[in-house]
Amino acid sequence: MNKATTQRQHTPLDRMADNMTQFHPDTHWLAEYVSGSLPEAQALCIATHLEFCPQCRADINALTEIGASLFSATDDTTPLNPQVLDAVWQSITPDNNPPPAVAIQAESHPTSVPAYPDSFPRALRKLIPDGTSGLPWKNIGSRLSVAKLHRIDAERDVSLHRLQPGGVVSDHDHGGREITVVLSGSFSDQNGQYHPGDFLVREPGETHRPTASEDNECICLAVCDAPVKFTGLFSRLLNPLVALQHRH
């Protein structure tokens, strides 16, 4: 019934389509996403994961229905202001409605396609109008570069991290809680190997040692809480002292 989860033999090319995603957001992330209380930068991480992950999309559908049934069961005895319906009628006069379907669909099909890895999700593409090559990449050491994206909520930084093939970052801790979603390539640390779509949360105090796979560069979306001066999945390299140790 659900074609996306049909078992097939994995060939390397199948991996993307066939959902290699193994690291999923916990239920509380999905519930806050569905209820709308999740800050936008974190919602971006969930929306990104969802484009890769049919399982979580199914969860989201179920959570939305649960929300709808709570919404339907609200105490709706508050009287409606009769002027509200009048105002609605006024703004939906036959002249300006219904809007042409073409206009709405056109938005989701950008005409010129800048250079993104194929795996880049829709929401993210809008933040990177000129493609990844047009971003202000900053090299942090020889193996890692970081590009800050447009701020979409006041308390978090949104950036892309690009780790060269085989690049290793030494054990490090994060200044604030950080969400990482793999967009292309893969990397690993002591807890596992991460593929496109994988969703990881690092709490402050957790250390890890990311290593990019040998064959491809790895690009991740990173959203970090409580922006401190240097943040990020590979953040210790931003610290000049630590960076020095890597310059060999």
């Binding site: 509380h28 569905v34 209820s35 929300g67 709706d76 508050t78 009287p79």
Partner: protein, 192 residues
């Protein structure tokens, strides 16, 4: 097979179809009478300093205009009418808060919270659900689970807000929500 689940009809879906096909004002008036008060209650429940009667009325207006404009994108095989309208109301509420907080973002709310107004070729699950079955399970939830779920969904609180406002450890709130959701999902026809 999904078809067997459709014994309980979604009585609002055909009205949305009439709005989409014929701009049927009578059908729309019935939708307004049913969903308008729910949207208003949903607006009034928002846990925010920006919540007010005016805001709730404005929310009703905005959501119902969207319902009129986007009715053609409603796909009864993907969601029930109330699920679709709930998602629109949620997005309008997010958008309202965004304006109040003057968040400047290049993204539309729909970019982050897509509603089925846009083509989504990858959603394969059949979404015709039996809402009454969820509703009946909601009624059997222990009171503390039901009220936390309501705080999360209807009042729009985060788990941390629920925890601090109820003097509960965050882990307790998370596990109550998870338990409630698991229980409710067993009321959904497609749960595996």
């Amino acid at each position: 097979m999904p078809e067997k689940q459709q014994a309980v009809k979604d009585e609002w879906a055909p009205l949305l179809a009439k709005v989409a096909e014929n701009q049927d004002r009578q059908a729309f008036t019935r939708l307004f009478a049913h969903f308008g008060p729910k949207i208003k209650a949903y607006g009034m429940s928002l846990n925010s300093m920006y919540t007010s009667v005016e805001m709730a009325d404005e929310l009703v207006q905005e959501v119902m205009i969207k319902v009129w404009e986007k009715a053609r994108y409603f796909k009864p095989e993907k969601a029930s009418a109330s699920t679709w309208i709930f998602a629109i109301a949620r997005n309008c509420r997010i958008d309202y808060l965004r304006k109040m907080k003057r968040i400047d973002s290049p993204l539309r709310v729909e970019d982050l919270w897509p509603v089925s107004e846009e083509p989504d070729p990858i959603t394969t699950l059949n979404q015709s659900r039996n809402e009454q079955s969820i509703q009946s399970v909601v009624n059997t939830l222990p009171r503390e689970q039901a009220s936390i779920l309501r705080a999360i969904y209807v009042e729009g609180k985060t788990h941390s807000e629920v925890a601090s406002q109820n003097n509960l450890p965050l882990g307790t709130v998370k596990s109550r929500v998870r338990l409630a959701i698991e229980k409710l999902r067993t009321g959904l026809p497609n749960h595996e």
